[in-house]
């Protein structure tokens, strides 16, 4: 029986199927894109403290404070399948107890249409750089990396590490400031 409602139903279903196919096409056109861009990270100051870590066992843990600059142009990442970027700066280092420690120090969401030129000077970290022991003092190799999640309209949610990271040694004593 062909009525207005049955015609409207088939029209709506057909439009929805076509829209789904288009969304898949949007995903296919961007699925194999390289979303890495060069990032210039510079850490200008590091301060190290040894404080009570109230979340863990009642021992004093290492707490780092860093001041950093980030310079990056994220324009090439954005295309028609990107809604926003979730940037985060993480520190990676090895200690005696763990071969890999990863701490997120700072993050930022960049929406589509926002300024994609990242030029940050003398930024403080947003989150505490706590080690779970005393692994930060005199650590020779702490690597800062800027990575990002690409939030798409459709498809996979890639996790990309920016090319360009900085490795630095941490101070030998507590309560001292080290400039780079």
């Amino acid at each position: 029986m062909n009525t207005v409602l049955s015609r409207a139903n088939s029209l709506f279903a057909f439009s929805l199927s076509v829209m789904a196919a288009l969304t898949f096409g949007c995903f296919v056109t961007t699925a194999f894109k390289d979303r890495r861009v060069p990032v210039d990270i510079h850490v200008s100051k590091v301060m190290l403290k040894n404080v009570d870590d109230f979340t863990g066992p009642r021992e004093r843990s290492d707490l780092g404070f860093i001041t950093f600059d980030i310079l990056a142009d994220l324009e090439p990442i954005f295309d028609w399948n990107v809604k926003q970027l979730f940037l985060y700066l993480s520190a990676e280092y090895a200690t005696k107890s763990n071969s890999l420690n990863q701490v997120v120090l700072w993050d930022r969401i960049i929406l589509r249409g926002d300024n994609t030129k990242l030029n940050l000077r003398d930024m403080k970290s947003k989150y505490f750089f706590f080690d779970d022991g005393n692994g930060l003092r005199a650590n020779k190799n702490i690597t800062m990396t800027l990575s990002w999640n690409v939030v798409p309209n459709a498809g996979i949610l890639p996790l990309v590490a920016g090319s360009g990271h900085v490795s630095l040694p941490f101070p030998e004593q507590y309560e001292t400031t080290k400039s780079y």
């Binding site: 009525t3 015609r7 439009s15 076509v18 288009l22 954005f78 028609w80 309209n153």
Partner: protein, 102 residues
Amino acid sequence: MLSVFKNIPTHMDYKGQKLAEQIFQGIILISAVIGFVYGLIIQQFGWTVYIVLAGFAVSCLLTLPPWPMYRRNPLPWQPVAPEASGEPTPKPQDNTKRKKHK
């Protein structure tokens, strides 16, 4: 109240139904191709969606109401047979216009 809606004519003949379906599929597919290419060029998927929605609206307007172009081939009904007891199957007057069954 409901009888008001029931009196709105919605009928299409069979060829009109086929034509309506072909028209809305064509419009939506064309708008989808245009929207995809345009969205790909300006790198805005939102415009693709808007263009497909525009095609949807146009095809709603064109194929939902029973416009006269969908009613050009009405079925040739047989004339009302007279209530005759002797003849169980009266022959129709003209067989030439009878619609072929699909």
